[in-house]
């Protein structure tokens, strides 16, 4: 959705400030309270319905996870992880996986196509498919391994946080469908407050490890989790404990961009000024030389 009415905080492959003058934008956030998640996949179905996505009907490979992974047609999937405590008690750690909508989005940083990835001023990171060239750099840039390239049109896809719904004042489809109230949506400030309250609730219930997942390494996220096992986010099917944009990506899309470009420019200039100061090595005519 290339919404003219929306302010952009960031725009991929764009070195100047994109339109961002309106002041009314409130940063939004989705809060996924894992202590209330029953893994029912209503969010997955709602996502498919709202966004008109139909992944393939797959197979079961010995897991509750289906589709097996995020894809261009599955922008969110439930991850199920089993964990056995030392005393033998079970934990079934269920996590809704999908785009985290980083404040400092690695995908946007890596994207070479101007305007293929935007971050609206409300924090939503959105892929503008018509500008996407399908290079997949966003995948390399993402610290959460979220974007996927479609085998149909070679464009990158991921959760848009239902930017089309949010822009007209609705909550994302998954939030609407969640039966237990595990997924909530509101301003980032409110969601942080609610997340902290829930962490307090859980600690009061004896879950001392509870924590709010809003990783600072990516500037915070506009999708946050309340994790009962906040001490070990990796147990939730590999949720990174301290995600940040990979140093390789930072080098590639950070210092190297201006530095190497300048290097090339200097080389050309160097050659040019060599020519005007020193001139060419002239060639003598064979006959002339041979006469001598």
């Amino acid at each position: 959705m290339n919404m003219q009415s929306l302010n952009l905080d960031k725009r991929s492959a764009t070195t100047t400030q994109p339109p961002d003058v309106r002041v009314a934008e409130v940063p939004v956030a989705k809060l996924i309270d894992i202590s209330k998640c029953i893994g029912c996949k209503a969010c997955q179905v709602a996502c498919m319905e709202w966004n008109d996505l139909r992944d393939e009907i797959g197979i079961n490979v010995g897991s509750y996870e289906n589709p097996r992974d995020l894809s261009a047609e599955s922008w969110t999937v439930m991850r199920f992880a089993e964990y056995q405590r030392e005393n033998g008690d079970m934990e079934w750690l269920i996590r809704k996986d999908g785009c985290m909508h980083c404040a400092d989005p690695g995908c946007l940083k890596a994207c070479p196509a101007p305007g293929a990835i935007v971050k609206y001023s409300n924090g939503v990171v959105d892929f503008i498919s018509e500008n996407c060239v399908g290079c997949g750099y966003c995948i390399a840039g993402c610290p959460f391994n979220v974007p996927r390239i479609s085998s149909i049109d070679n464009k990158a896809y991921k959760c848009s946080l239902c930017s089309d719904r949010v822009s007209v004042g609705l909550e994302p489809a998954c939030v609407k469908a969640c039966p237990t109230g595990c997924i909530q949506f509101g301003s980032k400030v409110d969601m942080i407050a609610r997340g902290k309250k829930r962490v307090g609730d859980l600690k009061e219930r004896g879950v001392q490890t509870a924590a709010l997942y809003d990783p600072p390494g990516v500037g915070g996220t506009h999708v946050m989790y309340v994790l009962p096992r906040g001490d070990a986010p990796e147990r939730y099917s590999g949720l990174p404990a301290d995600p940040s944009i990979s140093p390789w990506v930072a080098v590639w899309k950070g210092v190297s961009k201006p530095l190497l470009s300048a290097g090339l420019g200097l080389a050309v200039l160097g050659a040019f000024f060599h020519f005007v100061t020193r001139g060419p090595k002239e060639e003598h005519a064979d006959e002339e030389e041979e006469k001598q």
């Binding site: 492959a13 070479p112 990979s246 201006p258 002239e282």
Partner: protein, 212 residues
Amino acid sequence: MTATVRVTSKGVPRYSRNERVTHWIVTITFFLLALSGLAFFHPAFWPLTALLGGGVWSRILHPYIGIVMFLAFGLMGLRYWRENIIQPFDREWGKRLPDIINNRDEGLPEIDKYNLGQKQLFWAMVVTMLLLLASGVVLWRDLTAFPVAAIRIAAVVHALAAFVLMLGIIVHVYSAIFWVKGSMRAMTLGTVSRSWARHHHPLWYRRVAGKE
């Protein structure tokens, strides 16, 4: 400066027809790759994607063109690697670099078909081409599927290798077209003047002239 006599039959043959074709294939593909690659590298160069028909076509074609360049350069590599082995007199020649840069070419050590700069460029191209190929394959999502960690490293390697290659080519192009007059015809007509050959590559010239 008097006009040189451009009599082809009297020139010193430097590159055969096949060699010239191969070189120009590499040249053309290199420019397409460099320009489309720059477009992906820095937003300032994005408009260069128009060269290949837009961003998507650039993404699609770039790797295929890269394969062509690699194969063509591979031929050149096989042809020229022996002649690019760096010899002791090359090093001596290299010590006179300030003089060379300032066009004080008198009394330079005699060298063979290629000077040290050309040889260094050759080997730099061999190394960067291999790096570009390897990292390019990793980045080529249309056909390959490497782990994200590998792709991230490959992206950096690809960018750095391309940078080095482009620097080299800038020097190469400047030298061949603008700086060292008489060089260009080696790759257009296939011959150089005896004067040019004697002047810049005396060992080679004597070898070739002797054969004549």
